[in-house]
Symmetry: D3
Subunit: 103 residues, 6 copies
Amino acid sequence: MNERILAKDNLVLKRLFNLDTNTYMDGALDAKTKEMLGLVASMVLRCDDCIKYHLEKCFEKGTSTDEIMEIFSVANIVGGTIVIPHTRRALEYWDELIASKNI
Amino acid sequence: MNERILAKDNLVLKRLFNLDTNTYMDGALDAKTKEMLGLVASMVLRCDDCIKYHLEKCFEKGTSTDEIMEIFSVANIVGGTIVIPHTRRALEYWDELIASKNI
Amino acid sequence: MNERILAKDNLVLKRLFNLDTNTYMDGALDAKTKEMLGLVASMVLRCDDCIKYHLEKCFEKGTSTDEIMEIFSVANIVGGTIVIPHTRRALEYWDELIASKNI
Amino acid sequence: MNERILAKDNLVLKRLFNLDTNTYMDGALDAKTKEMLGLVASMVLRCDDCIKYHLEKCFEKGTSTDEIMEIFSVANIVGGTIVIPHTRRALEYWDELIASKNI
Amino acid sequence: MNERILAKDNLVLKRLFNLDTNTYMDGALDAKTKEMLGLVASMVLRCDDCIKYHLEKCFEKGTSTDEIMEIFSVANIVGGTIVIPHTRRALEYWDELIASKNI
Amino acid sequence: MNERILAKDNLVLKRLFNLDTNTYMDGALDAKTKEMLGLVASMVLRCDDCIKYHLEKCFEKGTSTDEIMEIFSVANIVGGTIVIPHTRRALEYWDELIASKNI
């Protein structure tokens, strides 16, 4: 679907998408840490699609399940119990990612 | 003021405050990383007092200014330009923290 | 799914879940009033799963449909028309709860 | 479903629904502009049902695809990348509205 | 300042203000309960001015400090630690209201 | 203060600020309409600094007080009564802008 947005050729959206990619590249902080930042931000803002995206990236960068659970705990403490339903779905997706690796 | 809340002896609030402290302790992720997670979460939720608190903790844990700027960039990309005014105040406070160290 | 989260044995999340349960127990305010508070908070924060949870609890505690509608009205006035779609789903679920009792 | 809410005869909700309709009528600003305002507000607040509603109204009022894309760009800049998933679904729905006209 | 808004004679805003007043009147739920609902909603949405307004109303309706603390605990559990700074200011204001009564 | 952020030379933030400026330029929608979109988005997200910024821009682009009041009404209906305190401050600032012109 991002292709469909890009196909409309809106310059602001194209550049924002580009910038989004640059944001998570290795810098003073490594890409893994930045993806963890993106994950916790997505959780407290309760955006399931964004959470999935950053979970995939965290998985690629070698984040462990214990680390993920600690990110979940920060998100739930800062954002409150309204984050719980998103945490459930996030863990379900994380478990799928782990399972996919073991196939 | 937290003492004033605690003085009212509400068990739920007392335990939540306690839990809040535990959340940012060294674990699978070190305390510095967790404070960075707390900072980015506070920024996208636009809570100036929370931002200040986590900036202090990040400062204590030895976060560099370049690292702080990259946390700010994640917060602004995920949360949008409404995060800019909070970023301004955050940077102003960070600069004060840095200046205080050099005295 | 909460069991799956608990199985990961993250202390902060376990305690938060525990605290969540304690929050809604009889105290200076009775459990019914607290569930109504939990419901209106979930509505303005627009968390459908949380709304369903508190509707069930309100139902168990004997909240009437007229009382539920007044909670909905507070949520919609405070939170605005973006709460309407959640109100629709909430009423649909409430009607199911009422219907289930009459079987 | 709005009928089901209205059937419960809660005066506050009835009047709010009424007021909601009045808000978008021609005035100092024309109805098309107001629907665009309703759309951008719904996007930054990330309410998919509200977005669909205002897309339909924008479509009826003759908003062009280029105009819609610029509303999307404002929403994504102000609200950040968490608006992207809603933008994807919004564009998909908009394309359906356009396609329906061409049948 | 509300007078200044009303003086501009915008029909939608006038009616919304009117409706706002009606929302908290005795009905299936009494006014005290409704003000508590308004308070918890304002807390999780983190609107200090709204919190003050509902604290005043809760005070007028005879809410006790223990009841207020339990409303605060629901707000902090549902909304997370970002509600803490607002809770501090709310308690400070509540203590002023209590003190003003004892003069 | 934006200069202070820019001085830190973070590429993502620099580009985002740049993009922000481009977003409100004349396009399929004229700059005045886009500033009105930015204003209503800032209001429902309750960012006072952002509201002031877009009020200034709306003022420069020749928006009338009646038009402003209708933007306020959309913001309050969509975002609810928690937008009222921001509306008060917005109107106060708007009146100052109008007064400054008449000197």
